[in-house]
Symmetry: C3
Subunit: 347 residues, 3 copies
């Protein structure tokens, strides 16, 4: 669906500059590849080099970049939000499906709203409730007593175990598993015995969960994701974790049991959060960082180690292995030097 540039500027709440409001915009494209009828955007300085030569009909950008724009511009403070909204407006609308595929298995004691869609090879167990507008792609399994909220969408092969609550407008990407047993073990005379995992998982409204991500059920109480949380792919959320509203977590992060993460946090890819600690609101954890203690102050925290060429790395790491000795050596030197100076000045 196309819109005019004027309409688009209005819908985005941006200011149109140097452009014909009647110009038709059909789609969104990158600065490098946009052509006539495309709108592009500049939200990352690294791509500024492509602005001058863009053939986009218009570009969404920040006020500071407007003068450099060779074509029409929609100027707004957050051009990335503008891009997101423009792309949503221009994207072909997804057809909604309703009904139950004949190759789905629906337990007679479940309740599937007539305005929900259950794809082929899905199963819905006894006591489960699928609300209106929810869509289960092929191969999804919803366990006994679980609830899928209105307008939530499960990608193919998603597993929702028993007695789990999924809010409204939640999207869960293919292969994700919600509500598997937490990793609760007790060592008893040389053998592990399992701690029964009796809690559940509660996923708030407007949460997104990535492909092949796993979220374990709580041991006694529940694992909780508040509204608006964003989880990328391949994330592991252990039992009894709490993730506050609007926190976004990048791929491959592991969060250990009973960790409590605040609201509006950003956790970088590959980070690890140790269990039984608390991270306050508005904390940024950069990629591949390991959080081992509670974080009580908002701010940015890091321990991800950037690559060096292998020779330098090996040389430096060999010294790290002796860093305590090196520090003691420096202390000795300090004492010696102080003694020398004492001798000199006193002598």
């Amino acid at each position: 669906m196309a819109v005019t540039l004027g309409e688009l500027a209005g819908k985005l709440g941006g200011q149109l500059r140097n452009g014909d409001p009647a110009c038709r915009i059909n789609s969104v494209a990158t600065l490098q590849h946009a052509g006539e009828g495309d709108i592009s955007f500049l939200a990352n300085k690294g791509y500024r080099k492509y602005l001058l030569d863009t053939r986009a009909s218009a570009v969404i950008l920040a006020p500071a970049e407007a003068d450099a724009c060779p074509t029409a511009a929609i100027v707004m403070d957050n051009p990335y939000v503008g891009y997101a909204r423009a792309a949503a407006l221009l994207a072909p609308s997804r057809p909604r499906r309703q009904g139950i595929d004949p190759q789905a298995s629906i337990d007679p004691d479940s309740r599937v709203d007539p305005a929900a869609w259950i794809g082929p090879h899905c199963s819905v167990a006894a006591g489960a409730v699928i609300h209106a507008g929810a869509e289960l792609a092929a191969g999804c399994h919803v366990g006994a007593g679980s609830v899928i909220g209105a307008d939530s969408r499960l990608g193919a092969n998603v597993v929702i175990c028993h007695e789990i609550t999924i809010g409204e407008r939640v999207t869960i990407a293919p292969g994700a598993v919600i509500g598997s047993d937490g990793f609760g073990l007790a060592m008893d005379h040389g053998k592990w015995i399992n701690v029964p995992q009796l809690g559940s998982v509660r996923i708030g409204n407007d949460v997104d969960i990535g492909a092949n991500t796993t979220i374990d059920r709580g041991a006694l109480e529940d694992t909780i994701l508040e509204e608006g949380v964003r989880l990328d792919n391949q994330i592991q959320v252990a039992h009894n974790v709490f993730i506050g509203a609007h926190t976004a977590i990048a791929g491959c992060v592991g969060i250990s049991g009973s960790a409590r993460i605040g609201r509006h946090c950003l956790i970088g890819g590959g980070a690890g959060i140790v269990g039984h600690l608390e991270i306050t609101d508005n904390v940024v954890v950069t990629g591949m960082t390991m959080v081992t203690r509670s974080i009580t102050e908002p701010g940015v925290y890091s321990s991800g180690v950037p690559a060096q060429d292998n020779d330098s790395w090996n040389r430096n790491y060999a010294r790290f292995r002796q860093l305590d000795k090196l520090a003691r050596k420096v202390q000795r030197l300090e004492r010696l030097l102080a003694a020398n100076r004492g001798e000199e000045h006193g002598g």
Copy 2:
């Protein structure tokens, strides 16, 4: 199902203190949230602060904590084991299922015990054997010639490839893949050729495998997990790995090909084990550690880097990049100072 406090103490092998043996216990709860009829436990010092105000009918705890307990107590050396056993006793028993769902695909040349359960949308290929008491939740696929031992339970969407052996009382959480081809490659004139993966996977009795965990089949010989091993979610076990009995491995660990891990080891979350090395029994590897050489002595090993505030981290890491130079500088200072002192004392 409820028990009396006296019965419970007896079954746990603990000593009842300050309690009415006839008091009825219905369920297990945390110190903070327990109420009348609940039993709670104290197994982690971090939660001691909740003991004084607990409203649990009784608390399972260690002898050293007993005096501080404001309510009835079951005193035992390992209260976490007590909690695990109490929770198992009080948990509602899971109904067992038997038979074959009409929407399962069972090859006529497979053998499914009448006392096994095959859920909807499962497939069991030719030559596969499913023993009595085994349960396959929806969407599981068991490849040709594979064996699922008695009383083993597969969560939804588990994939067991061909010719794999799963022991008895094994649990495999949803989305796990056992027996995919190992990552065996040979570079031949600029192109990769694949090394056929002709081995299998053998999973011992009483093993637990987490959600979306992957275990590759061996190249020539087998990938082996001995009895009682515990694997958490999102773990990658490469071809020809051996994991000794009763070793527990936390989430997101990656184990490279032909690594051999001993018995009763604990591997922390996000750790990485390099291939073709050996870790002896009773080794603890802490979270996000990388094991690059064989470990021949029991003990605790680490290289996971704890987070700092980003400014400190950047300052320190900038120095790390020059650590070899710094160490040389210190050596030079030592020599200079020694020479100075020589001059002084000799001069």
Copy 3:
């Protein structure tokens, strides 16, 4: 299927030494476990200790090892390639399947070649095309408009989302997800809004993708894997990533959005690649390394931290936390010492 040693040497392009060309070879085995009729190989020095006692009928090895071989040898420069080829020759050939399982769901508007195989509980959506020789194991789902190239094989429970292109002779291991939405978020007044993911994924010919690996579709343009790429298990490839031909990536690697990785690269297990950077051809990244900047020179790059015993680690890491201070201390010492020497020599 058996071959003679002479035939085998010919097919591998190796030189037969000390062997009877008519000796029958039935299978491949390790040096330790080979017996009569087995051929073994020596490709990793760590296994040289097993050569002397091997009971293999013949061993594939490099010229430098030939003199030490107690049995017949096939001598060639790359014995690992020889092993791979021998194993492929001797492996039982996999029967090919054709047709559509009655328990598969095929949209009438899709096109499945009669020489393709669609297993039970698979679904193929409208507009999808499955070419000749392609095989979908049980539980695979191919979304609307996606194409599976000739002779490509999908393991059980693979998900191919909509409008994805998979080349020819591609293998995708169980549980992998190709084409889920990228993690594109914009923060708008305290709430995340999703950036529509309008691009696709294009997988070149002869690519292998591991179990439970995830590859996201592009935001505006496509995520691309060129021909011959090898991905191990549990890898996360974010939106708009480009991976050049014949690059191999080990398990548990995470690659952030818009990263561009060259050809013939090797990325070690557990590594992390930050987004919006470029890695040139022929780069080796060792295990658990974090690449934070573009790499413009071929070579080996590292930041994975090898384990130490926990006491040493804690001591050294405590010093690392103060490394900037230590470096300043050393600078002060240098100045002091220079001043001292100035005093001495000048005084």
